[in-house]
Amino acid sequence: MAKDTLNKANFFSDMKKFMPLLKNLVSKDFKIKYRRSVLGVAWSVLNPLFTMLVITTVFGKLLKIEVENFATYYIVGFAIWNFFSEATSNSLGSILSAAPLIKKVYIPKYIFPIEKCLFSLVNFFFTLIAVVIVMLFQGVVPSVTAILFPIPVIYCFIFVCGVSLFLSAATVYFRDIQHLYGVLLTMLMYLTPIIYPLELLNDHSFVLRIVKINPITHYVEYFRNLVMYNTIPSLEENLICIGMSLLALLVGGFVFKKAEGKFILHI
């Protein structure tokens, strides 16, 4: 049983061996996040609810954005958006903060960004509880198609993993990304129809085009169509989503693979 250190990653045997690590890291993050807070896990549900209250007050009541069941409209989109933004911004520094480990033990390095994505996925399911609460409160009956909701979540998860792999590798070399990414996220959020309907942009064809290129728009709309509007997105839409997810994963994976060998010299 020879292990050639130069070509060390036997991807699948590594993956099997380090599955428990992945699981433990996720549960560690979870424990640390809520340790010593009185309400604990309940915050995962309360946080999106409070955000929803603020947004619906500002945009629904004051700025009068006209969407039927605005609170539901918002929180459904927010769930997907929050998954994306939390996962990517957490994995951004994941390699850097794992430096003490990476320097001392051989661990496949993709574990760290992927772990952050999984952690955010767990959080996403708590946000779903908040979504259900808001729907009940507003009296919105979920569509039958809502049972298909795992499909956009899986698309989005693959996309998020790709972006996270890319970001975590790039951040090792250029720390500026840590500071830049917050601004980028804010921009991207406004380019995603979360607090406004797409129709609002009908007079601004240029912005509309950008919003439609934005991959997260597709995942948000897909999810919303299933949950709120009893619509199953077309085959074309599915192919677009799959295409974007796989592209992100391929590019992210490729960049990560190229960069990981030299991580240790930079962290």
């Binding site: 699981k23 433990n24 001392k104």
Partner: protein, 246 residues
């Protein structure tokens, strides 16, 4: 095929870019790129080192600070990729490089034992079975549910050592770790390492304590400025090393 060697190093070289200032921002990078100031000073930490370690051997590495001992260990354990040359290892490796590297100080010892076990690639089931043995060896039972930030460094090291040596790996890498812990625990550690040696484990030890190397090792290499100065029988190498220091 019977292979006699546990570790084979062939013409291994490790270079580091010693940039005078670390470039960590895009702006700096592009500015320097445009000005063509992206010079790095090449630093050779390990220079053309080749040696074999036989199966079941106890192999010591000695040398002054900065001679490439730890770098060599890191190359063997697969943490660093050598710039040139090849490394082959046969069998499972349990690195003891700095105990407790994977601990999260906010977690309790109990949680950390499982976390650290999975860092070393052990399964949950395996850790369940070995949990008591680890606790027993570290003698830390009464502190199991205390967050590890409240531990002393010796206590952390005890848990770390107990986890790392819970299996009998094919290759065990020991880097200066026996310096921590009180003398009773040091004895205990040494006993365990001796037990492993008798169990046909290949052990690689780095230490500044020449007595320890002489006592434990069969063969030894002496590194100086990244090159092999002498290799062979532990006693002879240690004598030569000691004499050179006077």
């Amino acid at each position: 095929m019977v292979n006699e060697n546990a570790v084979e190093l062939r013409n291994v070289e490790m270079h580091f870019n010693m940039s005078k200032e670390k470039l960590e921002s895009l702006k700096e990078y592009f500015l320097k790129l445009v000005k063509r100031q992206l010079y790095f000073e090449d630093f050779v930490a390990v220079d053309n080192v080749s040696f074999d370690i036989k199966k079941g051997d106890v192999f010591g590495i000695v040398g002054l600070n900065g001679c490439g001992k730890s770098t060599t260990l890191k190359i063997i354990s697969g943490i660093l990729e050598p710039t040139k040359g090849t490394v082959k290892t046969y069998g499972t490796i349990a690195p003891l490089i700095e105990l407790g590297a994977g601990f999260d100080m906010d977690l309790t010892a109990r949680e950390n034992i499982y976390l650290n076990g999975s860092v070393l690639g052990y399964s949950k089931k395996f850790m369940d079975e070995k949990f008591d043995e680890i606790v027993e060896f570290s003698e830390m039972r009464e502190f199991l549910d205390v967050p590890m930030k409240n531990y002393s460094s010796g206590m952390v090291a005890r848990i770390g050592f107990a986890i790392a040596t819970v299996t009998t790996p094919d290759i065990l890498i020991v880097d200066e770790i026996l310096a921590v812990g009180d003398f009773l625990f040091q004895q205990k550690c040494e006993e365990r390492i001796n037990a492993m040696i008798n169990d046909d484990t290949t052990v690689i030890i780095v230490s500044h304590s020449i007595e320890q190397i002489e006592r434990l090792c069969k063969h030894c290499v002496w590194l100086e400025k990244g090159k092999i100065k002498m290799i062979g029988d532990a006693k002879e190498v240690c004598d030569a090393y000691k004499n050179s220091q006077r």
